[in-house]
Structure formats: C-alpha cells, structure tokens
C-alpha cells in the first residue's frame, strides 16, 4: 500500500531540505505549530500514476512574503503579491517533486497552482483522504504541508 510511505518524518525531512536549500539564511523550519494565520496562500501539486493525490503547502501571507524576499533577494517591504505566489508555487513544486521521488514509477507531477481562495483549495481536496498534515513554525509564522490521497485520478 503506497499510502504507508507517507509519514510525518518523511514530509518533515523533505520540507526541511527545501527550506535549507532555498531559504538558507533564514530561521530554521521547526516541526511545531505556529499561531493560525489571519491570511494564507496555498500551493498544490497533484501526482498521478500508481498513486494519485495532492500535496499542499499553506503559508501565512507573512511567511510567503519572507520566502519571496529571500528567493528574489529583495526587501520584504518590496515583495509584491505575485512574488509571494511564485515563491509558494516553486516551494510546493519542489516539495511535490521530492515526494514523487519516493513513489513507485511511473508517475506524473502537475504544474503548481497557488491560491488564497480557500474555496478552490477545498474543492481540489474533495473526496480526498488526508494522510499526513505537518504543521511547522518558521520565524513564528505558520507553514503547513499536507498529503492527500485520492483513489480516482480523474478527480484530480
């Protein structure tokens, strides 16, 4: 059963490695919940193949802006919303790619989608089973990575 591959340890290791690679001079990504954000951005990628599911990354808008600030090498006050969307999109793309790497081939990875529309996010997870949900604290900001399994790839 492929679903058993997904553990909190695996997701934590992958997310931490992505943070260390692209946000190396920032605070450490800690595997403990931060205060719930007032606003957030959620990026998702879908994996299709022998295993079908959705990987999501939800960052507080402040965390997303900080990530964009580092990735684009600009002051956080100069970060545009589009920068934050791109940063979250790239982070979930790499997290999703790393998770796909532990799955039996062949499988495909979608392009990332990022939204601050909670309705879209919920629709995309419809009929999905939550396998892992790891809540991180990054500079006291909320970062959350979740893995959702779906039996029917046509629903993705």
């Amino acid at each position: 059963m492929t679903d058993v591959l997904f553990t909190e340890d695996l997701v934590t290791e992958i997310a931490s490695s992505v943070w260390m690679a692209y946000l190396p001079e920032s605070d450490e990504l800690l595997a403990r919940p931060a205060a719930p954000p007032e606003a957030s951005l959620t990026g998702t990628v879908t994996i299709s193949g022998q295993w079908n599911g959705v990987i999501s990354l939800t960052c507080s808008t402040i965390a997303a802006a900080r990530a964009a600030s580092t990735m684009f090498a600009v002051d956080v006050s100069e970060v545009a919303r589009s920068d934050s969307l791109d940063a979250v999109g790239e982070l979930i793309n790499i997290i999703g790619g790393s998770i796909k790497g532990v799955l039996p081939p062949p499988s495909g990875l979608s392009l990332p989608a990022v939204t601050d529309d909670a309705t879209v996010y919920i629709d995309r997870r419809a009929d999905a089973q939550l396998l892992v949900d790891v809540q991180f604290s990054w500079a006291e900001q909320s970062v959350r990575v979740a893995v959702w399994s779906k039996d029917d790839r046509t629903l993705l």
């Binding site: 490695s17 992505v18 260390m20 690679a21 692209y22 964009a68 990735m71 684009f72 090498a73 920068d83 791109d86 940063a87 999109g89 790239e90 982070l91 793309n93 790499i94 999703g96 790619g97 790393s98 796909k100 790497g101 081939p105 062949p106 990875l109 392009l111």
Partner: protein, 134 residues
Amino acid sequence: MRALVIEDSRAMRAILVRLLSAVGAEVTEVEDAATALAYFDSNELPDIALVDWHIPGMSGLELVSTLRADERFAAMPIMMVTSESEPEQMLIALDAGADEYLVKPFTEEAVVEKLRLLGVGEGQPPATVEVPRR
C-alpha cells in the same frame, strides 16, 4: 561564461541567476521553449543551457530533443534542472541529450560541481538579461 536559463518559475530563475552570476556567468533568462528557440536563432550560442523539465508549451525534455536533433547545438552543454528526482527520469533526460541533471532542491555547491563536470564556469564579469516571453 554565458548561460541561458530556461525556467518558467520566476522564483527559481532568480535563484539560478544569483548562483550563476556569483560564479561569474553572464546569464540570460527565458521562461519557455519558444522564447529559447527564438533566442538561439538570433544570438550566439551560450556556453551552457539550463533547462527546466516542466515548462508551459513544449516541455524541457522536448526542447532538449529538438536541440540535439539540430547539429548547430551538438556541442552546447545542456543541464536539466528539475524536481523530477527518479533515476528513470534522469535516464530519459540523458537519453534525450542532456549532459547533466540537477535535481531540485539543489545547493550552490551542487551547481558549481555540475558546471565543473561540464567544463564551464570560469569567472567573467556577471550580468543578467531577461528576454520577454514571445
């Protein structure tokens, strides 16, 4: 060294441009294969092309195959830069004509090592150019 980065993500382009500029590269960045092909038609070939696998339109893999089918690009080093981490995918990219394969997430040291393996990367004044999407 002149490098062409073909990557749809602005965030990843920014990271690659920063890393490559730090090792002395003059970097041109484009976001899709069509713009890359147009760039090749009207510019001197770069010393290396870094190609993302997942780009809108023609994929990075298709772009590599297209370039390798054209003798003008036979000697141009191509490095796939991708989140596709499975060995099978790596073999597919190498079979298509990529010379090296860099898996995201990567470190600065990994980029430098790949450039060394390809024999490119000696220091020149850094600069960047962004080509508008066609």
